[in-house]
Each structure stands twice: as structure tokens, then as C-alpha cells.
């Protein structure tokens, strides 16, 4: 059901050329240098410690590995992370 809706939505955005992050709730990630990351449309934190941060997304999750990670700000839909990043990985 949800899978079918997702497919329909995807086709719709392709036809009407609507930004996908708005319609499909896809994450929008902005990385500034290697020390600052800004993430929209997240679904909460799964795991957090100084060296690893896992963030839940609509589908799958985002894993950030690094040093001295810190969540600078946390809102219901957005978050901003600082620290030294080594790896940014999408996982299912």
C-alpha cells in the first residue's frame, strides 16, 4: 500500500517537476566543509555517541562516523551537527 503510494508520488513529482524533498519527505543534507552538517526531514536519532551518530530517515538511516560529534540544534524536522566527519553513509 505505502509502497504503491510512494511509486505514484515519485511519478507525479517527475511529471510536475516538484522538488522531491517536499513531496516524498526525502532527506535534504547540506554539508559545509567537513565540520558542519545540516539535515532536513529526519525521523529522530537512533544512536548517538561521540564517534558515531545514526539518524532515522523515511527509508533507512544515515550513519555519520567521526570525532567529537555534537548535535548543535535539534528540531522536529531539522537538525544541525558539528564535529569532524570521516564517513557519511546511507544504510537500509
Amino acid at each position: 500500500m505505502s509502497k504503491r503510494r510512494e511509486v505514484i508520488n515519485k511519478i507525479m513529482t517527475d511529471i510536475f517537476e516538484i522538488p522531491k524533498d517536499l513531496v516524498l519527505d526525502l532527506p535534504k543534507i547540506t554539508i559545509i566543509g567537513r565540520n558542519e552538517l545540516y539535515l532536513e526531514n529526519h525521523r529522530g536519532i537512533i544512536e548517538y555517541n561521540l564517534n558515531r551518530l545514526r539518524i532515522n530517515l523515511v527509508r533507512g538511516f544515515l550513519e555519520i562516523e567521526g570525532k567529537d560529534l555534537m548535535i548543535k540544534a535539534l528540531l522536529a524536522e531539522e537538525m544541525s551537527i558539528v564535529g569532524e566527519f570521516y564517513v557519511i553513509r546511507f544504510m537500509d
Binding site: 529522530g44 548517538y48 560529534l69 548535535i71 540544534a73 535539534l74 528540531l75 522536529a76
Partner: protein
């Protein structure tokens, strides 16, 4: 975001939570609209900041999940309330000080006028007062540009006015107009300024109307500015027969110039009573010091003048005008006076009266001119209690004055 001014108004708390599933609490809190920032792991525990307004909700969420919220640090202005209460007097004092400073600096205390040489300073000050600028005037009472315009409009002799406001001091800078010279440039006569006998005449331009030895009255034409062609009548007839135009025959006008010296008379009068009373200072003196505050006067040092029969008062006041009236300090010096009677003989009285009469003449004539043929005449009767003397002196001076020719 921490340390933001508006966050500090409400208050900020730095909290610490331990135990398992710390992330869950953070997620739940942010899903419920609690703003969380500065999340950092510190060993096993997680530290973050939250607004004081959201702290209670966060604690409820934590309690539901069996966690304890530990407050590490608290920031905010509400914490300063204790200090404010303790030092209330100091803070009120500081506020009163600032307020007083502001209030006192919003009045004009000193008013100065500069740049004027011919126009009286007081006239400018009075005109400025008409537009609301005076010593003790509140600054909101007037506008510099309006005062400038007003003064310029009212005083024709000024060409420029600038009102400089420097704190509590206002300086009115003015520039006076330079009026054109009043010397006559058009054709004119030279007329007599006074009655007299012509003593010497020097004509530079024009036709002399008087000779040496003539008696002239004030207003008589001495050197005429209208020149008639020589032997006009004869040449006129000749010209008529020859048919030359009338143009040449008409008298023409010039600007008459020259010097006419004449003997003129000055009269003076002086008198001296035979018995004269004068007031002299006895040297006794008393001093009074007082403070002026508005309409009231407070005596600091009382000087009683009851001991003196006749007193001369000398008052000196130093005060400034404020919106609440005059404020200043004044001193009053009281000098005792006494009567002194002097008796003069007829001769002495005549001498004094003569000198007075002569002084009157000298004052009128001026210092640099010589008095010739001085005559004195006693005009009082011998039975009078005072001697009256009339003096007459002759002076040779220039009586030439230009007078424009009135065109007919």
C-alpha cells in the same frame, strides 16, 4: 544559540540525563516541540540545553521513561532578581542620576551672542527670546532653524544668523550687513550747517555763492552745484541769431565740493550755589550676602543698616535663569553717607560756575578746536542764592555740508 539575549530573558537550563535510551527521550521531546540544542555525550551521560519553559515537559517525558533529569547549569535574567532586590537603592540611585543628567542637559543654561559689533547684543537676545530661545529655556521649546529664520526676519541689519547648540550652551553667531556709504555722489550744493560768518572759502567744484565776511544762516547755499554758463545772456542772444541749439545754453549741475570755514558761536551755561551740600562716604560699611532661589531670598549674612542715617546701596548678583526661576548668589554692600556743607564766597562761586559753563562749550565743540574770544556774563541777581553764568565762545570750523539738488 545559547547566550542569545532572548533565550536569556526566559532562562536556559543545561541538563544531563543518564541511563539507557537517552536518544529516545531527545526524540520524543523534539517531536513534542521542545527546542533542544547543544547535545553532547559526556561519558555515559548525555548533556543538552533546553529553555526553562520547556524544562517541565522534558522532565515529564523523562519520568515516563524512568529517567532522571539532572540540572547542570542555569542561566537567565530571572536569577538576577535577588541581586536587584539587595541593591535596590543603588539601582534607583543610578536611574535617578541618569534621569537628572538627561533632564538638566535638556535646558539652555548659557546663551552667547558673537559676531555683532553695531547691533546691541540685548536686541538679538530679546528677538531670540521671542522665538523661544532664552536662558533657562527647555530645548524642546524652540528649533534652531526657526530661531535663525525669525531673527533674520526681525533684524534687517543682519545678513546671516546661526544658532549653535553645544550641550547646554547656545551660541548665536551673526554676521551684520554692510550698508552702502551714505556719501552723496549725485549733483549737490554745499550748504551751511550752522549760522556764522564766513572766514575762509575754498572751492574745488561748483560756483561760490558767498564771500569772506558774509553772514550766513543755517541752510544757506554756500557753493552752488548749478553752474550757469558765463555771460549767458549775451551769448544766448548771439546764439539765437546764429541758430545754435538751446542745449549749450542750459545751466548744468555738478557735485559741488569745497571747504567753507566760518566763525560760529557756542553758548554755555553754568551755575553754583553759595551754600552747597554734598554727600560723602564716612567709610563705614556693612555687607549682606544672600541666596536667590526663584522669588525667595535666603539671607546668609545679615547686614543691618539701622545704624546708618543715609545709605548707599550697591547690589551685585550672580544668577542664572532656569525654568524654575532665578538661582544665584547676591551681595549687598551698604555704605554710610554723611552730609557736608560747603560755603562759597561770590568770587569762588563765580569761578566754579564759569568753569562749568566753559565745560559745556568744550564738550559741544570737541577737544581739538581752539576757542577764540571767550565772553562770560553773570545773569543772576546779587540777591540770588546761586550764581548763574553764561559763556559765549567763538570757534572757526568747517560748516560745509553737501545737500543733493532737488530736481524740479
Amino acid at each position: 544559540m545559547a547566550g542569545n539575549f532572548f533565550d536569556l530573558v526566559g532562562g536556559v537550563k543545561k541538563v544531563r540525563i543518564g541511563g539507557k535510551k537517552q536518544e529516545k527521550i531527545v526524540n520524543m521531546a523534539s517531536a513534542r516541540g521542545i527546542y533542544i540544542w547543544g547535545i553532547k555525550k559526556n561519558g555515559d551521560k548525555m548533556e543538552f540545553k533546553v529553555r526553562s519553559s520547556g524544562f517541565e515537559a522534558l522532565r515529564n517525558i523523562a519520568a515516563e521513561n524512568g529517567h532522571e533529569v539532572e540540572v547542570v547549569e542555569e542561566k537567565g535574567f530571572y536569577l538576577l532578581r535577588g541581586i536587584v532586590k539587595r541593591r535596590l537603592g543603588f539601582i534607583i540611585g543610578a536611574l535617578v542620576f541618569v534621569l537628572t543628567l538627561y533632564l538638566l542637559s535638556s535646558f539652555v543654561w548659557v546663551l552667547e551672542v558673537s559676531g555683532n559689533s553695531k547691533i546691541d547684543k540685548n536686541r538679538i537676545i530679546i528677538t531670540a527670546a521671542k522665538y523661544g530661545l532664552y536662558e533657562g529655556a527647555p530645548k524642546w521649546n524652540f528649533k534652531g532653524s526657526e530661531v535663525e529664520e525669525g531673527i533674520l526676519k526681525d533684524l534687517d541689519e543682519l545678513s546671516y544668523v546661526k544658532v549653535d547648540i553645544e550641550g547646554v550652551k547656545v551660541n548665536i553667531q551673526v554676521v551684520e550687513k554692510i550698508m552702502p556709504d551714505k556719501t552723496v555722489t549725485e549733483p549737490c550744493h554745499i550748504v551751511a550747517a550752522k549760522d556764522g560768518i564766513v572766514d575762509d572759502i575754498l572751492v574745488l567744484q561748483g560756483q561760490p555763492n558767498v564771500k569772506i565776511g558774509d553772514v550766513v544762516a543755517k541752510g544757506d547755499i554756500l557753493i552752488s552745484g548749478i553752474i550757469f554758463p558765463e555771460d549767458q545772456v549775451i551769448s544766448g542772444i548771439e546764439n539765437e541769431s546764429e541758430g545754435v541749439s538751446d542745449e549749450e545754453l542750459k545751466p548744468w549741475t555738478v557735485r559741488a565740493r569745497g571747504e567753507v570755514k566760518a566763525r560760529v558761536w557756542y553758548e554755555g551755561y553754568g551755575e553754583c550755589p553759595l551754600k552747597k551740600e554734598t554727600l560723602i562716604m564716612t567709610g563705614n560699611k556693612k555687607k549682606k550676602v544672600y541666596i536667590i532661589a526663584g522669588d525667595r531670598i535666603f539671607n546668609l549674612k545679615k547686614g543691618n543698616d539701622s545704624g546708618f542715617k543715609m545709605v548707599k546701596k550697591e547690589i551685585r548678583e550672580n544668577s542664572i535663569n532656569t525654568p524654575w526661576g532665578k538661582i544665584g548668589i547676591g551681595t549687598e554692600n551698604l555704605y554710610e553717607q554723611a552730609k557736608k556743607v560747603t560755603l562759597y564766597s561770590d568770587k569762588e562761586a563765580f569761578k566754579i560756575a564759569r568753569k562749568k559753563a566753559l565745560d559745556v562749550i568744550k564738550k559741544e565743540v570737541g577737544k581739538d578746536k581752539e576757542l577764540l574770544k571767550i565772553k562770560f556774563e553773570v545773569v543772576s541777581a546779587p540777591s540770588d542764592s546761586l550764581v548763574r553764568v553764561k559763556a559765549e565762545a567763538e570757534v572757526i570750523e568747517d560748516i560745509a555740508v553737501p545737500q543733493p539738488i532737488i530736481s524740479r
